[in-house]
Amino acid sequence: MQAEEIKKIANLAKLDLSSAEKDSFLRQLSDILAYLDQIKDLNLEQVPESISGAEEIEHVLRTDQVEDSDPKSIRQAYQLTDDYLVSPGVFNKK
């Protein structure tokens, strides 16, 4: 992992990292990735992926019925106008 990548990943993850955080993450994530690399070279072309530990996924479809949502679930949002969530502007106002 390179310093440039830390910057790129932080941007994708919407995190502002201090330069001390960038330094320590670069070191720590490189260590961790070196450990994780042990599975990288296994030849697994024939092996299917498992998306979870569940033995068999029980696909149960519910009927598509419209139910009222619970307004309580968004009451602690930053700003609401009627039942709409208000967000800051996308472009900088400065």
């Binding site: 502002d16 993450f25 092996v47």
Partner: protein, 477 residues
């Protein structure tokens, strides 16, 4: 009975005393609230101010205790599980003021049985950690040695039970977060099979691995809790329709000697603490002497479980925690910022180092160019690990292993070395990756008086097997 003695009782003992009118639900609740108030272990983030009022109401129908062991029993709940009108902070600055708008299905089911939530327990932030040191509310101290960690991430729940601040607690286990602190604190903790228990109302960390589970002083108590918690929930599509057995009845009536026990050699490397190794080997000998059939088995892909876990989990963490953006959830930022800067300011201020580290790692793993090499590859190794367990469970009923490579370590010891901290999960993550169930059971103490845990693993939806064997071990020492 003295108040201090009262809080030492387990669920079954409290139930007996409530039936005999030795004390009321209000009295026992008061005793625990007082114990929490006097404790310096930092096990709780908040207590339920309504608990005494609820206890009084439960006392009105105390006859119910005859039919229902859980009636009137106080319950501590990990602070990532929602209980309506109580704070649910996930031990994070991000949610420090968040109040749950509804109650998680598991808690609702236990409340229906007559349990009352006494408070919300400390944990690692968003359940990420193995020491409970990654909490915005400070570490939880181990009651057996206060210079040592409680384990994590369900450290507050483990300590609540171990220090008699609650007779029962709920934790969550994504890679060992119930079993490891249970082992460090000397209590019983169960990670149920993936799908056994609804996760509706639990703040998600890694959705393909998370399970909620019970923690208590005895295997029988855990069996009662599991029976009430388990079963399908239409609000969690991953919860299973499989029927819920009568666990407390089964563990008392079944003959544990019918169970063939496997000892996987991969779990007994040189890296394991000699005192733990000795304690486990003594238990194996004890079982042999008691006519149990024991086989050495092999799980060749087990050595990859931790690497798979630390690829899948951070990837899922980075997606699940995207919702904490300060708009719908999380700290609101007061500055007049444009949206992208707003997100970054809120998330950088609300998450602590360990959460940021895992989000960074997960975002990296899922990013273009690395997805196939890491994430997809890990999903494939997960298949190998599942097949290993499947093969072994065709031959044996229960696997017997250590829970942790070491007893509780010192506060601060692994804090600056995340990889060392991650290695604390080495024996527990396999169960999460494969979706099987695991029980952590206290079996001995080190010469420094630190608890040693034993792990019993069984195939998916075979909780009754590990509970039966655990019940036998607990009652035959």
């Amino acid at each position: 009975m003295l108040r201090e003695e009262l809080t030492k009782l387990n669920i079954v003992e409290i139930n007996r005393a409530l039936q005999n009118k030795q004390f009321s639900v209000k009295e026992i609740t008061e005793s625990y609230l007082q114990a929490i108030d006097h404790s310096n272990l930092n096990a709780f983030i908040s207590v339920n101010k309504q608990a005494l009022k609820m206890a009084e109401e439960l006392d009105q129908n105390i006859g119910e205790a005859k039919n229902n062991v859980l009636y009137g029993i106080p319950l501590a709940v990990k602070d990532i599980i929602l209980v309506k009108d109580l704070k649910a902070t996930a031990a994070s600055q991000m949610l420090k003021n968040y109040i749950a708008p509804y109650t998680a299905t598991v808690v609702e089911r236990l409340e229906k049985e007559g349990m009352l939530v006494i408070g919300k327990t400390n944990c690692d932030e968003f359940a990420m950690g193995a020491s409970n040191e990654h909490s915005a509310f400070g570490p939880v101290l181990n009651p057996h040695d206060q210079t040592r960690v409680s384990g994590g991430s369900s450290g507050g729940s483990a300590v609540a039970v171990a220090a008699s601040l609650a007779p029962a607690a709920l934790g969550s286990d994504t890679g060992g977060s119930i079993r490891q602190p249970a082992a460090f604190c000397g209590i019983v903790g169960l990670k149920p099979s993936y799908g056994r228990i609804s996760r509706f109302g639990s703040i998600a960390m890694a959705s393909s691995l998370d399970q909620i589970g019970p923690m208590a002083k005895s295997v029988e108590d855990v069996a009662y809790l599991l029976k009430a918690m388990a079963g399908v929930d239409k609000k969690d599509a991953t919860s299973s329709h499989k029927a819920v057995p009568n666990y407390p009845k089964l563990i008392k009536e079944s003959d544990p000697r019918q169970l063939v026990i496997g000892v996987p050699k991969e779990y007994f490397s040189d890296q394991i603490d000699p005192e733990i190794k000795k304690a486990i080997e003594e238990k194996i000998k004890f079982l042999e002497n008691n006519d149990f059939q024991i086989k050495e088995v092999s799980l060749p892909s087990a050595k990859y479980a931790l690497a798979v876990y630390y690829l899948l989990m951070p990837a899922e963490v980075s997606s699940n925690l995207a919702r904490f953006d300060g708009l719908l959830y999380g700290l609101a930022d007061q500055e007049n910022l444009a949206l992208d800067d707003w997100y970054k300011t809120v998330r950088s201020g609300g998450f602590s180092a360990e959460v940021k580290r895992r989000i960074m790692l997960g975002t990296y793993i899922l990013s273009a160019g690395y997805y196939d090499a890491y994430y997809k590859q890990a999903q494939k190794v997960r298949t190998l690990i599942k097949e290993d367990f499947k093969k072994v469970f065709a031959d044996v009923d229960v696997l017997l292993t250590p829970v942790t490579p070491t007893p509780a370590f010192k506060l601060g010891e692994k804090l600056d070395d995340p990889l060392q901290m991650y290695l604390a999960d080495i024996f527990t993550v396999g169960a999460n990756v494969a979706g099987i169930c695991g029980l952590s059971l206290p079996i001995a103490k080190t010469k420094n008086n630190l608890p040693i845990g034993l792990q019993l693993l069984a195939n998916s939806f075979e909780e009754e097997k590990i509970l039966s064997l655990g019940y036998f071990l607990e009652n035959n020492q």
